[in-house]
């Protein structure tokens, strides 16, 4: 049995090597393109984006929130499994921590193109203002990144040492006693990682939820809603990559784990739906027509909300709620992809609708920042769709993330020694 699995691991890269080469070349091309576009953006200013004074934040911040969520969700699932002794998570725990580490670094990178005066970013460190939720977030993200790297390394260092990898960082002992000690250390670290993961996304939520200027955001439900979105998207991504990586033979688990993950995702989706209902009903019930919540049902962004609810919540929930369906990996992966799309749209709605209206709302409104050839150079509401440059920069950063992930899958010991 073990001979067979060793053979398949050895054979997998040879079989897939052309595809792998193409994949890596494509990612490198996207990274270079994205970097080039970012240089262009720095030279020309943020005018190359479709953000303006009436749409202050756009795709960069939406993607930032999305990736913090992916990371927090992945680490919550991994560390909660460890803390509460859910042993069946064991085959994918390392994969989940790899995912959490890479996505939090991606989130941090996504902030950089959003800075208009990026040359002076060091002021964040030398003139940090501790009343600003943005500084809380920067701090917790950096701590969290170090924490997840340490957590990952503790899980893997004995195996890295056995491989003779320099990543073992001097660890030589590969004996059982040392492994047991590390296993206990990961348990202790799980006690820190779980609240840290909850906190990292709560603080991201407070960037928005503490601003009295934006009625759509100023709500105490923001942190729970963000954590629930993180659980859905993080678990969905871990599930998808677990099935993809399993095909390469780098990890192995039975379909029943997929079914378990699917069932868990259904629970998370139900919690998310409940919190969205709480948020929407509280905005809708008083019947104030100017409340931003009405834009979810009527107007330009209503289709986005419909996608969020139907594609992102209802369909995946139904697919996963039926036990016979969620036993099939294809269904679980499909439902996970839909849930990921739903959470991304949810976050886009949050930003675009939250910032979509001039708060004073008197004519002619807010100056746009760049005069318009046709029509008013002011606006009382916004229309936002990202520019090609914004898409290319985000694609470049995601490609970098995917490249690091591919290399991590290829070279890190992802299998738990049983």
């Amino acid at each position: 049995m073990s001979a067979v699995s060793t053979e398949s691991v050895a054979a997998a890269p040879a079989r897939g090597s052309r595809g792998l080469t193409f994949w890596i070349v494509a990612l490198v091309a996207l990274i270079l393109l994205g970097f080039g576009v970012w240089i262009y953006q720095v030279a020309r200013g943020l005018q190359v984006t479709n953000m303006r004074d009436n749409v202050i934040w756009g795709l960069y911040i939406i993607s930032f929130m999305f990736f913090v969520g992916l990371s927090a969700g992945g680490l919550i699932v991994a560390s909660a499994g460890r803390l509460f002794g859910v042993e069946r998570f064991a085959p994918i725990v390392r994969l989940a921590i790899v995912e959490a580490t890479i996505t939090i670094a991606t989130a941090a990178l996504l902030i950089i193109p959003d800075l208009g005066h990026v040359q002076h970013f060091y002021n964040l460190f030398i003139h940090a203002h501790w009343l600003s939720p943005m500084i809380w977030d920067l701090t917790v993200i950096l701590i969290y990144l170090v924490l997840s790297l340490l957590y990952l390394w503790l899980y893997m260092r004995r195996d890295l040492a056995a491989q003779g990898s320099w990543l073992a960082l001097g660890t030589k002992d590969t004996g059982e006693a040392g492994r047991d000690r590390d296993h206990h250390l990961t348990y202790i670290l799980a006690w820190i990682a779980l609240p840290a993961a909850v906190l990292v996304h709560s603080i991201t939520a407070w960037i928005f939820g503490l601003q009295i200027s934006r009625g759509f955001w100023y709500s105490s439900i923001m942190p729970p809603l963000f954590v629930s979105s993180a659980l859905v998207s993080g678990l969905a991504l871990v599930t998808i990559i677990a099935f993809v990586v399993r095909r390469s033979g780098r990890i192995s688990f039975g379909d029943e784990l997929g079914s378990f993950l699917g069932g868990l995702l259904a629970v998370f989706l139900a919690v998310e739906a409940f919190l969205v209902l709480c948020e929407v009903l509280a905005g809708y019930y008083p019947g104030i027509p100017t409340d931003a919540v009405h834009q979810l049902f009527t107007g330009r962004y209503a289709p986005g909300f419909a996608v969020e609810i139907v594609v992102g919540l209802v369909i995946p929930f139904v697919l996963l709620a039926v036990a016979a369906w969620r036993r099939r990996p294809q269904i679980v992966v499909l439902a996970s992809v839909l849930a990921l799309i739903g959470i991304f749209v949810h976050r886009a709605n949050l930003i675009v609708i939250g910032l979509g209206k001039d708060p004073i709302a008197l004519a002619p409104g807010t100056p746009l920042g760049i005069p318009q050839a046709n029509g008013s150079s002011f606006a009382t509401s916004s229309v936002y769709f990202p520019s090609i440059w914004e898409f290319l920069i985000v694609a470049g950063i995601i490609a970098l993330s995917a490249l690091v992930f591919t290399l991590a899958i290829r070279y890190l010991p992802l299998k738990e020694k049983s």
């Binding site: 002021n123 964040l124 009343l131 943005m134 009295i212 004073i360 004519a363 920042g369």
Partner: protein, 234 residues
């Protein structure tokens, strides 16, 4: 030789000693002419497409639309610039202390500190801040406008009304106050009970925008009175 006026071209030492500078706009006098906005642009060298001061109209989706149904129509305006709040959400939000409250009450921006994250714009409940999406374009070029001590802004930083901090430091009134053809704008120390702004606020009913948000703006509007007065705030 033209006469000199205190605060316009003769320094007023009271302005230099103020602890809570504020502005009062008389809605009975404002005619919505945008002179304040133009004076501001000229004084502060504000780039094309950006406004530190804009004149809002009540009524319809466009400028200068009357409110009401003919013949019962009224024109009303609200010239709006940074309110220099006593509890400024932008100052709390700024991650680099680039925007800060001065001892005289002015909320100012340090363009060297600003990293262009625009969190202050998100935090401002009044959309009174503008961002340099590109290198500021001045028309006519900066060299022929009244530059004074206004620092140049690079692209990618946030800017906004500073109550003409460089004029106030010299004891002069903000430019929008000086150029207003109807004298609708008055400026002074809200902490000084004898100042013109304090007297006006004592004698006439006034309002601030979104008082329920607790920002405590330092720019007050005197409520319109007389036959064409509109109900409510404006």
């Amino acid at each position: 030789m033209s006469p000199s006026f205190v605060g316009v071209d003769v320094p007023d030492p009271k302005l230099q000693k103020a602890t809570r500078l504020g502005m009062v706009v008389d809605q009975n006098r404002c005619i919505g002419c945008w002179s304040c906005a133009v004076g501001c642009k000229e004084q502060q060298n504000v780039g094309i497409g950006l406004y530190w001061l804009r004149v809002l109209t009540v009524g319809g989706p466009f400028m200068d639309t009357p409110a009401g149904t003919f013949p019962d129509v009224t024109m009303s305006y609200q010239s709006t610039n940074c309110f220099h709040c006593d509890n400024p959400p932008c100052v709390k939000a700024c991650p680099t202390q680039a925007t800060y409250k001065m001892p005289n009450g002015i909320v100012n921006v340090n363009y060297e500190r600003c990293i262009g994250c625009r969190y202050c714009m998100v935090a401002c409940p009044y959309d009174n801040r503008v961002f340099n999406w590109r290198k500021p374009v001045q028309e006519p070029p900066a060299s022929v406008t009244v530059v004074g001590e206004t620092p140049a802004r690079p692209k990618g930083v946030v800017e906004k009304c500073t109550f003409c901090v460089q004029r106030v430091t010299d004891g002069l009134l903000p430019r929008c106050v000086v150029v207003c053809p109807t004298g609708a704008r008055t400026f002074g120390d809200l902490d000084d009970p004898t100042s013109e702004v304090s007297v006006l606020l004592r004698d006439r009913p006034s309002y601030v925008v979104f008082p329920e948000r607790g920002t405590r703006p330092s720019l007050h509007y005197l409520i319109r009175t007389g036959p064409n007065a509109v109900g409510g705030a404006l």
